[in-house]
Point group: C2
Chain length 357, copies 2
């Protein structure tokens, strides 16, 4: 770029406080060069991770640092207008808590517990979200808040959050969420792989080889991973053995109490997830597999089962340097990923150009 | 770029005949603009697809048009020096047949029937290539021919060839080779996905859910896709039923003769490949699955089995627009892909810059 163009753009960025002077750098002989640093406090991002029964909502700076946050029980089955109405109110409250104004909001990112068309921001036949099919989530929220809105599947935002925060140098990652259901998000060449219809990563209904082939799944097939190893299935089996368990979280509670049946169930669930992941490791050859979701809190018992099968069934070349670990962001991973959707959009050269024009 | 820089580069490209004048374009008011066209005849590419028992070697122009070609029986187990010595001789003969000289060779692309480290051009623990492990294929061939050499796995070059020639607009593709063994190559966002160790796509030893779980594979595990549905396994089962069959090709021959046992075997093999692909479709969400390799010549019988399972087991959203078809390039797909490796390298901006410097 010509020197005058650079100066003009620097002025624009400085005026909007996207960058701040960061002292003089070492002179290369001519006029002293001035260094600038990106200012993550210049704008804020709104982020939400909506699950079937609870939601986490946050306001972050442009480095995905959380400035204000709320965690609440919701019922996604209440339908889009009720849930999103609540979300709009919550975003508004949180922004005012931070002391920023809506003029300083770069956008909003929303994760939903079902398949989403990323291009249109609408859910597509989501099984556990009655009333949401085809609903214009980004339009509805965007028009009420006056900001750009990105919508994606909850596991996709988890993969984005984990990669961005903990492993930005990792080229290929599979993030597996094991909660009530099971899903995954794929990172390839540092970017989310959404696939042809945005459906990539949906491994909950992959057929598990071997054990449990006769377990019938609500989807109509049998032997689905989710029906065998999901938190809902495990809780049901604990109930059958006389323990009190309604959700994935109850399974973790029993494991932490060293309840024998629960420990054995979780380790076996890890093996079944591992059987499916073994195939995916041979096929996709990731650097890292990250296990997240509520059942990840069962920790080593789950991981041991996953590792046992992945290392015994995958191609040796593909597991030579493979890391299998739990999410380092834990429950915050989704909301951080939702913020990253906004941040990557806000810092894209096209967006910056538009904001300077 | 400045007008003078453009003029200088155009002169360089014209001098080397990379581009040729293509008549005057519509004037925009000033001096008449001159249009140039890329000249695929400016250089040639050397391409080889080496299998376990036969090889296809070609010289192509920079549009992957075949100028000279040879198909020969080889034994990859003879080791690298014998096989590559023959390859160097064959390349030399074919170049002279085309009337070009080695100064006009952009490079050589070689596909090998085993895992290859693309970065180093060396095979990594290839199971059916004794003596090749870690051999510097690109260095050995490159130093003898005086050209740049790219080496990759045979299924990867098939995926590249099919995508480049028949479906360049397809974003996500899985190319499945079903020959003696079974492997796949993945295209994502129009580019080959090699994975962390270059091992991506190696689905031959994925465990088939359901049928055949007790079939022992030479790899030491049981229930591997290749041991159940590969051409070698099918030929062995035809022999057991009294038919003469040594190779994948013999299986196809019996199918074409409408031999009942062979037709049933191939359709069942299609189902087993389909069971594995169903999981991969849910996980990867491709636009297209292409079936290649010798068994692809069994045509509709194989495809019917694949489709049956893919459509009944994959996520509906992921199969809504999924195309499942056989390779349109057939036996030439590998050698075309090997040429494309060279062409993409030769036409990369960096390479062109170097050649003009």
């Amino acid at each position: 770029m010509a020197r005058s163009t650079v100066a003009l753009r620097l002025d624009g960025l400085l005026e909007r406080q996207w960058i701040v002077p960061a002292g003089e750098s070492v002179s290369s002989g001519g006029r002293p060069a001035v260094a600038f640093a990106f200012n993550p406090e210049a704008r804020i991002a709104l982020a939400a991770d909506l699950g079937a029964m609870h939601a986490r909502v946050a306001v972050t700076n442009l480095a995905a640092g959380v400035l204000a946050e709320r965690r609440t029980e919701i019922a996604i089955a209440d339908g889009p207008e009720k849930v999103l109405g609540w979300l709009v109110d919550t975003f508004t409250e949180l922004v005012s808590e931070t002391g920023y104004t809506f003029d300083e909001v770069s956008g909003a990112g929303i994760g939903l517990p079902g398949p989403v068309s990323y291009a249109t921001g609408r859910p597509v036949n989501p099984p556990i979200m009655p009333g949401w099919d085809g609903f214009d989530v980004s339009g509805w929220v965007g028009s009420r808040l006056g900001v750009r809105v990105k919508v994606d599947n909850d596991v996709n935002i988890m993969a984005i959050g984990e990669h961005w925060s903990t492993s930005p140098d990792t080229e290929h990652m599979i993030f597996v969420k094991i909660g009530t259901g099971i899903g995954s998000g794929l990172i390839t060449e540092h970017r989310l792989h959404r696939g042809a219809q945005g459906a990539a990563g949906d491994i909950g209904h992959v057929r598990v080889p071997g054990e449990g082939a006769d377990v019938v799944c609500p989807c109509g097939n049998s032997g689905c991973l989710e029906a065998i190893a999901g938190g809902g299935a495990l809780a049901a089996r604990l109930r059958e053995s006389g323990l009190e368990a309604r959700h994935a979280w109850d399974v973790v509670r029993h494991v932490r109490a060293a309840e024998h049946t629960a420990v054995a169930l979780v380790r076996q669930a890890g093996r079944e997830v591992g059987d499916v992941l073994a195939s995916l490791v041979s096929f996709f050859n990731p650097n890292v597999i990250v296990i997240g979701g509520e059942l990840a809190d069962a920790g080593e018992h789950l991981l041991a089962g996953v590792r046992e099968r992945v290392y015994s069934r995958s191609l040796p070349l593909a597991t030579a340097d493979l890391e299998v670990r739990v999410s380092r962001l834990g429950e915050q991973v989704g909301v951080i990923g939702a913020a990253v959707l906004v941040i990557e959009d806000a810092l894209a050269p096209d967006t910056v150009d538009r904001s300077l024009a």
